[in-house]
Each structure stands twice: as C-alpha cells, then as structure tokens.
C-alpha cells in the first residue's frame, strides 16, 4: 500500500493510501487532528485492534487498524474486526449506540473521531492558513459569528475580492475545522454565504481540503 503519511503527531502516525476514497481521507485526517490534541494522543496511542466504520446512509466504509503508534485507515471492510460502528459522516461520526461488550473500545474510538472542536476564530485562521493560496480563493475571508444577542466578525486576508461565511459559533467551527462539508451546510441553511457562484466553487474545494485532505 502506498501511504499518505504525515509527520507523526505526538508520536502517532496515521497511514492511508494515496488514492483513498473520501471516507478514508476523512477518518485519517480526523485521527491526525486527534494525534495533535495533547489530551487525545495518549488515548489514540493506547487503542489496539481493528474497527470498521460504515456510513448510516451511503455505502461508504472504512477500516481502522489501531496499532498503538501506527494507525492505518483502509477502504472498505477488511477482514474480521473487534468492533463495527455505523456512523453519521455528516455529524462528526455520530453513532446510535455501542453494545455493552464493546463499550470501552467504542468510547475510545469515538473520542478520537470526535476531537474537541476548536474555537471558531482559531478554526477560521487555521482554515485560512491552509487554503488561502488555492487557485481562485478570495483575497479576503470574512467570518461572521451570529448568536441570539450578538454578532462578531473577523476578517482574514486583504484585497479586493471578498467572501463571507456566517453562522453560529459551532457551525463555523465545524465547517472551518473540516468536521462539516461547507457546501452541504450551505444547502442545509446552517451557514450563509455572500459571494459569487465561482467563489462558492473555490470555497467548496477549500472545504474539501481541510475535511478530506484532498
């Protein structure tokens, strides 16, 4: 297997194939984020065994081989597993329940698949840093956090072309961290945008980059 290996984070390396499908990329990217979290890296490093994931509403499947400091994410269902989870890929790997016999392993796996969301501002800055140089990106990204009684705004970059994304603190954090897909959330009405259709295309690609590392 040719590997897409990023530098070890906290001593844990997550492998996936260069030509992996989106679900594998999503899982691998999420686990790499967990490996960068000081509270989660030790959890990640302790998990041993094979866990299979399946999407609750599409045929997407992935298998995670947890091996302590080495984690491999594979496409499809690969061999016998210790635990099988049906997850909502559009809701941060939400599951309906884990049977009692697998509670410990299940809790650990879900903990690393659902790392703490960053603050929306931090998420926006990280998003901007990794996507600002993509072809066609606007020169300026305006992030608007709306709550019941306030509205806060940050502006990233500078220049003539602008794009705005507005939503709740959680919605923004989810989109900017890659937990959610931007286009899906725009279509669902969870975030609102101001800009041109071509800009929406570029921003969709930027969202894929942070969500799927593609």
């Amino acid at each position: 297997m040719s590997s897409n290996v990023t530098s070890p984070s906290g001593g844990v390396t997550v492998h996936c194939d260069d030509d992996a499908p989106p679900v594998v990329r999503l899982v691998a990217r999420t686990l790499r984020d967990a490996a960068r979290d000081p509270e989660l890296v030790s959890v990640l490093g302790r998990i041993k065994g094979r866990v299979s994931l399946r999407s609750h509403n599409t045929p997407q499947r992935a298998t995670i081989d947890f091996g302590g400091r080495e984690v491999a994410v594979l496409a499809g269902a690969v061999g016998p597993d210790e635990l099988s989870l049906t997850v909502d890929l559009d809701d941060r790997f939400g599951v309906e329940g884990i049977d009692e016999a697998h509670h410990t392993l299940g809790d650990q796996v879900l903990a690393v698949l659902r790392p703490r969301l960053p603050d929306w501002r931090q998420a926006a800055e990280t998003f901007w840093a990794s996507t600002r140089n993509l072809p066609g990106m606007p020169a300026q990204l305006i992030c608007i956090c709306k709550s019941a009684d306030s509205c806060q705004e940050i502006t990233l970059g500078s220049g003539d072309s602008r794009y705005s994304i507005a939503g709740s603190a959680e919605s923004l954090a989810r989109v900017f961290s890659g937990a959610d897909d931007l286009l899906t959330k725009v279509l669902a009405g969870s975030v609102e945008v101001r800009g041109t259709l071509p800009q929406l295309s570029v921003m969709t690609g930027a969202s894929w980059k942070v969500r799927y590392d593609v």
């Binding site: 989106p22 679900v23 045929p59 997407q60 496409a75 071509p198 295309s201 570029v202």
Partner: protein, 462 residues
C-alpha cells in the same frame, strides 16, 4: 468572432433560410455536446433561427457546469467566463444543417463568449483548434470511429422503472462477437439504424455483433476529425431514436452490465496532399513513430478524458479487451495503441482506450494533442510491445486505474496543458474531481461490480 467566420455565416444565411423554407421546416434543433458527451441544445422556430444566425443563441454558462445529476459542479477555480450564470452563445455551423425528420431540421454548433472569442472548453472548438494546430505543422488527420453500444429488448420506460438493471439483451445472451445469426429483432434494429444513417447522410462502413450480449458495433466512414465527430454525435442520437421507435433501449455506458465493457476505438492517420504519412514499406514511418511517442507520453493524462466516468474504469480488466498498460504494438490489440503498418492507404494508429461513454470531440482533440506534442518535440516511442500486454508480471506502466489517479496524471501533464490549454485541462480535472466526490459521498459503491448509482447516472446519458 473572426471576420472570416462572420462573412461565412452571412453568405450562408440565405442558403439556410432557403433550406428551411423549401422543406417547410417548423422546428430546428440546435445541437452540441457537453463535456460528458451528452447531446445538448435547444429547439427553435425558423424566425428565432434567423435572429440568431450571427449573434448566436444564449445558453447559461452551466451548459458546461452541470453534472449528470443536474447539480452544479463545484470544488475548483472557474475561468473568467464563469460567473453568476451568465450567457455563452451557440453559433451554428450551417454546413451541418440537415432535415432530421418531416418539418424538423437539426444543425450543430459550437460555443462562443460574448466578446466573440471561442469558448475554450467547448468540445467542438477545442477539436477545431487542434486540427488547426496540426495544419500549421503541415498535416491533416483522417479519423474513423467504432461506436459500441448495448441494446436491450425493453423500452426506455421499462428500463427506467427497473433502474436500468436486469434488462434483457436484444438478440439474446448466447454467442460471441461477429455472430450474424442473431434473432431477427436484433437484425431489424440495426437495419433500421443503417437506413436512418443513409437518410441523414451519416456515412457508415460496417455494423456487427460485438463481444457482449446485446452489444453492437457501428463503424463510421473515415473522414476529417470534425465531420466524423459530428456524425458520431448524430449516430448515437439515431440509435436512441430507433431504439425508442422499436420499443427497445440503448446505452453507451462504459459497462452497462457486469458482463463486458464497450469502447470508442479511434483510428487515425496523418496525411499531406492526400498522401498517408504513416506509411512506409516496413514498420512505422518516422511520422508515425513520433505520433506514437507523443501518444505514449500523454497517455496517462489522456486517460482522464478517454475514461471520463466512474464506470469507465471498470472496463480495465486484463483479457477482456481494453488495454491496461501504457503500451503500443504493431498489430497488437492487447496494447493501448495498435499500429497498422505497411499499407499506403490503411496504415494507421488505433487508439483502443476511449470508452463508449467518452465525448469523441474531446477524445479526438486529446489524441491530436498527444500527436502534436510528439511531432513538435520529436518524441521517440518506448519499445514496441510484441507480447500480450495483459497479466504481465512487471515492466509496463499501468494505465491509471481510477478516476482520481487519471485526474492527477492529467493535472501533471505538461504536454497536454501546453497543447490543449491549461484552462481546459484545469476545468476538466475540476469536473472529474467533483464526479469522484459525488460517487463516493452520494451513494456510489466501489465494492460491487456495478452500483445502482452508476446505472441511474450513466445509462441514458451520455
């Protein structure tokens, strides 16, 4: 738009109007192809046609921006001509005007921008640009296409109700390629198709049974790239219409069942003053060798255009017909490019990679681009493959086996970007990445032989 084109259209205007009047035409179908090879257009009245003869007919820019599920393609940087659904304009090519049926004419066209420049991603314009580049080097291409399709007994309405699955191949499931004793219903269908071709002036050479159940092959007469591609687009429409008339359904999907795939092999030679420059007494001529060199150098990237859809890649199975390696060989149909040599007329290259689902304008443009690169840079081909180019233990580079790998190969292909233009290459790659994402995240299943998502998306279109 160039002055020459404006003059040509002005001169043709009266001929067009006479044509419509003399045949009592009440509806004219304007035709073009989108990137997925689907026939797109509008039906206009004679007065509307008159009004748009010079200025063209407006289409929203998403004529080249919608996927086969009717969703806008997102995820990549658009070129300048894309915006908040501005118009692009289809200008007709009067030389393609035909009486399609009583009271109805059809005419092909290509797309232009409001400022009069050709839309760079329009398949017909792209092909024209490649033939002009080839001409600037002193060559003309002569091409021929083999159209493969699968015909089913059931009507398209029944096929739709069954989600295009579990259909009955016309002519039965027993047999093999070249079988001429198929049941009469198969024969009747193909005879009707050939009659319509004759009525419309679509010149054909051969039709025959192909390898899979219900599969047919039609060979169009060789000609200029543009005329053959125009005939290709219309031939497929004829096959659909005749299927409908006879209560059958037809598909150009790359692999409509688990049984076998289907292709659009393209045969090509380079000519100068009527002389075939691929000919020499023995072996490939120097011009042919450079053409092969260019094709081999660009084959990984060209794969993305020759195999445009998810299902396209399911054809790539050794021993089933399609090539699986970046390879060429004299009289070797197991390679990607077969060289036919030693004949002053028939010496040619046969490109065996393109699928039945590929847009022939784009495929031909890409193949010409590879040849142009080979001629321009005097590229020598790799060693000829004389063995079977399937099931090899090592030694030959594989054709990119997935849509994502092919898109990556194209995005890194400097020769194709230089010749086809970076704008088209980037745009195409962006649309393939969107298709890849749609398949994986919206119901496609890579773990089965053929997922329902693919049947629903690719059977009727392209």
């Amino acid at each position: 738009m160039s002055e020459a084109v404006v003059r040509s259209l002005h001169d043709s205007k009266s001929e067009v109007l006479d044509f419509l009047r003399d045949r009592e035409i009440s509806t004219i179908r304007l035709e073009a192809t989108n990137h997925d090879g689907a026939l797109i257009g509008k039906n206009v009245s004679p007065s509307k046609l008159r009004s748009g003869l010079t200025s063209g007919f407006a289409f929203a820019d998403v004529a080249f921006g919608l996927d086969l599920g009717n969703l806008p393609q997102f995820g990549f940087a658009y070129p300048q001509w894309r915006g908040n659904l501005p118009d692009v304009f289809l200008r007709i090519d009067p030389s393609t005007l035909v009486e399609w049926s009583r009271g109805r004419a059809s005419v092909m066209g290509d797309f232009w921008l409001p400022d009069g420049s050709p839309l760079p991603v329009c398949p017909r314009n792209l092909l024209r640009r490649m033939t002009e580049k080839l001409a600037s080097l002193g060559y003309e291409a002569k091409v021929a296409v083999e159209i493969e399709a699968t015909v089913f007994e059931e009507s398209i309405h029944v096929a739709r109700s069954r989600k295009y699955r579990d259909l009955t191949p016309l002519g039965g499931s027993a047999g093999f390629a070249y079988h001429v004793a198929r049941s009469k219903d198969w024969d009747d269908y193909m005879l009707a198709v050939a009659r319509r071709f004759d009525e419309l002036g679509i010149e054909w050479d051969v039709w025959n049974d192909e390898a899979a159940s219900g599969q047919v092959e039609v060979n169009l007469v060789a000609g200029s790239p543009m005329s053959v591609c125009d005939s290709w687009a219309r031939a497929r429409q004829v096959m659909r219409e005749v299927a409908h008339e006879y209560g059958h359904s037809v598909t150009f999907m790359a692999k409509p069942t688990a049984e076998a795939g289907q292709a659009s092999h393209l045969n090509l030679s380079l000519q100068r003053d009527g002389v075939n420059l691929f000919y020499q007494d023995a072996g490939p001529s120097p011009v042919m060798r450079q053409a092969i060199g260019g094709l081999m150098a660009t084959l990984p990237g060209a794969t993305s255009i020759a195999l445009p859809q998810i299902t396209s890649y399911r054809r790539l199975v050794s021993l089933t017909g399609p090539p699986v390696t970046v390879s060429w060989g004299v009289d070797n149909k197991t390679t990607a490019v077969r060289a036919v040599v030693g004949h002053p007329t028939y010496s040619r290259l046969e490109h065996r990679l393109p699928g039945a689902d590929a847009n022939l304008y784009l495929v031909t443009a890409t193949i010409l681009a590879g040849i142009i690169a080979g001629l321009t840079h005097e590229l020598e081909p790799p060693a000829e493959v004389t063995d079977m180019a399937w099931c090899l233990p090592d030694g030959l580079p594989p054709i990119p086996p997935t849509m994502s790998k092919a898109a990556d190969a194209l995005s890194h292909d400097q020769l194709l970007a230089e010749t086809l233009g970076a704008e088209f290459v980037d745009y195409w790659v962006g649309t393939r990445r969107w298709e890849w994402m749609q398949f994986h995240t919206n119901g496609g299943d890579p773990s089965v032989e053929l997922s329902e998502w693919e049947s629903l998306r690719y059977f009727e279109l392209p």
